[in-house]
């Protein structure tokens, strides 16, 4: 049975979405202040307008229900699904005024990519972009990555009742690290603050040593850190990570990518003083095996190639991109054109798979995710064991994810369902890209990159691409970030409410 939302539900949904949007208006103060400090008056005005309009929209929506309105589980799902759509829409306002985007759609694509921690970009003339606009682009990774919902919670909006926990679950982070959501949010921000400070200092010093000006060093350090730790992939220069020409930069950022793709439950366990969990965890194991196998494939492919067979090249062009793809970051030290020309076929395929598989759950990584792959592998093992065991015996299979858990058909079927949904979306996006006339390999690469929120690009993603394809990739980034079910819940709710409206007449 489908349960259609009531008018009261719609009010609550609008109310909380409005509060979320208001939070984004508050966040725009950071680039505004950056602009003022840097003496960038034009961009400062862009953000003044952006913050004002966003606050007005947010507060307008918040009027639809009283503060602290009751929030049901279904409503929470809908808010989550709408969150990325609505905040990317208002977040695009200042960027669209910057003069670096061909249209509002391009700016919206950029913020959708930013908030979903993808990293595909449609910016033009990035090397002349104002510091303030770059600050906002990178902040979208931080805001979207640490969970819009968690971010909103930290601002301590007075959500009463069970709504808050539902919001958290709807975002796909269904494990409770701490006894309650506020504690969990606080811990996530604590880990983030530690890594972001550390990364900013490390990369800032590296930049300083390379001859960058002081404030620029640390700004670039901060941006690269949040882009990697939140597995985003934006860069402040058009050359992305290639700009730095620095092995040290690449090593530090890969570490940050790994930290960003680690499940927050694992962070919590290690920081409690129990590092053994990393070795035992099914997800950590399957990710490690995954990265190792794909690195071997890339190494094999590049080793046989003409261009990248040196050991430095295998590491910096091969392994670096496996890590960047598997963690869902999408920083690249290659020009977009080089994926199809020069990079080996096997290497290309391995990067495709790395993007498709993705990182860990309860992190900012995208893709199918290591936990599901691990479960599916265990599931295969389980079925094989069953098939060769005597008919009367009961075969159980266990896996270790934080606890020893028996594998059930339900868990397995959930993992398989999400796996299938991802694969269908990867292929659908590739078909649409190919229909627009792009080569099939490139179209598949770009489609996977968008859906798995990675951000590596073969160059299809460009301001000149057809608007239909821009929208396709935006939907893919959105759906991938929500892991489909939340998005389907939104669509089902809309459809059922229309049906109800028609039934009454």
């Amino acid at each position: 049975m489908w349960v259609a939302p009531q008018r009261r539900d719609l009010g609550a949904i609008a109310h909380y979405t409005g509060l979320l949007i208001t939070t984004v208006a508050g966040a725009m103060v950071i680039p505004l202040a950056t602009a003022l400090v840097a003496g960038e008056w034009g961009p400062a005005l862009d953000f003044a307008l952006g913050a004002g309009v966003t606050a007005a929209i947010g507060m307008g929506l918040a009027q639809m229900a009283p503060r602290g309105a009751y929030l049901g589980r279904r409503d929470a799902l809908i808010i989550t699904a709408l969150a990325w759509l609505s905040i990317s829409l208002v977040g695009a306002i200042p960027l669209s005024l910057s003069g670096h985007y061909g249209s509002f759609l391009d700016a919206w694509f950029e913020t959708m990519s930013g908030f979903t921690t993808s990293g595909l970009t449609l910016s033009q003339d990035l090397d002349h972009m104002a510091v303030a606009h770059n600050m906002w682009r990178h902040l979208t990774h931080l805001i979207g990555g640490q969970g819009i919902i968690v971010a909103a919670l930290t601002v301590a909006m007075g959500v009463r009742g069970g709504g808050a926990i539902s919001l958290y679950i709807a975002e796909g982070r269904d494990e409770r690290i701490m006894p309650n959501v506020i504690h969990t949010a606080r811990f996530i921000w604590f880990v983030t603050a530690v890594y972001v400070s550390l990364g900013t200092v490390a990369l800032g010093i590296a930049n300083l040593a390379a001859g960058m000006e002081f404030s620029r060093s640390f700004l670039h350090g901060f941006w690269a850190t949040i882009a990697c730790y939140d597995t985003g992939g934006f860069g402040p220069q058009s050359m992305n990570a290639l700009y730095y020409h620095s092995p040290i930069f690449e090593i530090v950022t890969v570490m940050l990518m790994l930290a960003g793709t680690l499940n927050f439950n694992l962070h919590a366990d290690v920081w409690r003083g129990d590092p053994r969990e990393i070795g035992k965890n099914i997800e950590a194991r399957s990710l490690a095996v995954n990265i190792a196998l794909l690195s071997a494939a890339v190494g094999f492919g590049l080793g046989a190639s003409q261009l990248y067979s040196g050991w430095g090249e295998v590491l910096r062009k091969g392994v670096y991109h496996v890590m960047s793809a598997n963690s869902g970051t999408g920083h690249q030290t290659l020009y977009t054109t080089q994926w199809l020309n020069g990079y080996s076929g096997l290497g290309f395929a391995a990067i495709l798979l790395a993007m498709a598989f993705g990182g860990m759950v309860s992190s900012t990584a995208g893709g199918i995710k290591a936990l599901r792959l691990g479960l599916i592998a265990k599931g295969v093992l389980w079925r094989v064991k069953q098939s060769i065991a005597p008919a009367s015996s009961v075969i159980t299979q266990k896996y270790h994810h934080l606890l020893d858990v028996p594998l059930t058909s339900e868990v397995l079927s959930n993992a398989l369902m999400v796996f299938v949904l991802y694969v269908i979306t990867y292929i659908t996006g590739a078909l649409i890209g190919a229909a627009y006339g792009y080569p099939a390999g490139a179209a598949l690469f770009e489609s996977i990159s968008a859906t798995a929120n990675v951000g590596l690009s073969t160059g299809i993603t460009a301001p000149t691409m057809p608007a239909g394809l821009k929208i396709t990739y935006m939907v893919q980034m959105w759906a991938g970030r929500l892991e489909f079910i939340t998005l389907f819940a939104l669509i089902a709710s809309i459809v059922t409410s229309f049906r109800r409206g028609r039934g009454r007449q």
Binding site: E40, L45, A48, A56, M59, D127, Y335
Partner: protein
């Protein structure tokens, strides 16, 4: 130093001669630079890997340390930035690097293109042989529109009104 100067003079002389007649097909010789631009350099299909090339572009951002007395200078040519590796001395003439506030110096780079540079971890780069200033950079005009401030403030006022209304309605609930 002197060696670079000599090569630069030679390259310049060659460039000034009717290049177009033999620009194509001479890349193997290495002495006559093939005229190109950013998009062609990164196309990977130019057939210029290892050849001496020449292109024009704006220097952007800054010179970053490249080790061995060299620096990396990024040259933005037709919308594509190319990392050019050059001896520090070569940057003596450079004054303005492009950023939000400035259009950088426009230079003509002659150098060797490496589609996968063995020396630099496979980066696509150009090892400069000579660098010539074509046009001095200048400040960019970044006009600003005050109407944006008006819209922003109006939005803020509206938001403030909305916030007060919401608080009042909450107090009403309590009664």
């Amino acid at each position: 130093m002197r060696r670079y100067g000599a090569i630069a003079v030679l390259a310049l002389a060659l460039a000034l001669s009717p290049v177009s007649a033999f620009a194509a097909g001479t890349s193997a010789a290495g002495a006559v630079p093939a005229e190109t631009d950013g998009p062609e350099i990164i196309s990977m299909t130019s057939g210029l890997d290892g050849a001496t090339i020449a292109f024009e572009g704006e220097v952007v951002s800054e010179a970053l340390a490249g080790g061995d007395g060299h620096v990396w200078v990024n040259v933005l040519s037709d919308g594509t930035a190319i990392g050019v590796w050059m001896p520090v001395e070569m940057t003596d003439d450079l004054e303005v690097f492009g950023d939000w506030g400035n259009t950088g110096d426009v230079v003509r780079v002659v150098g060797i293109l490496n589609e996968g540079c063995d020396q630099h971890g496979g980066d696509l780069d150009v090892h400069a042989v000579s660098l010539e200033l074509v046009k001095r950079g200048s400040e960019r005009e970044n006009p600003y529109d005050l109407w944006k401030l008006g819209v922003g403030l109006a939005g803020l006022v509206l938001a403030g009104v909305g916030y007060r209304r919401m608080r009042r309605s909450e107090e009403g609930d309590l009664l």
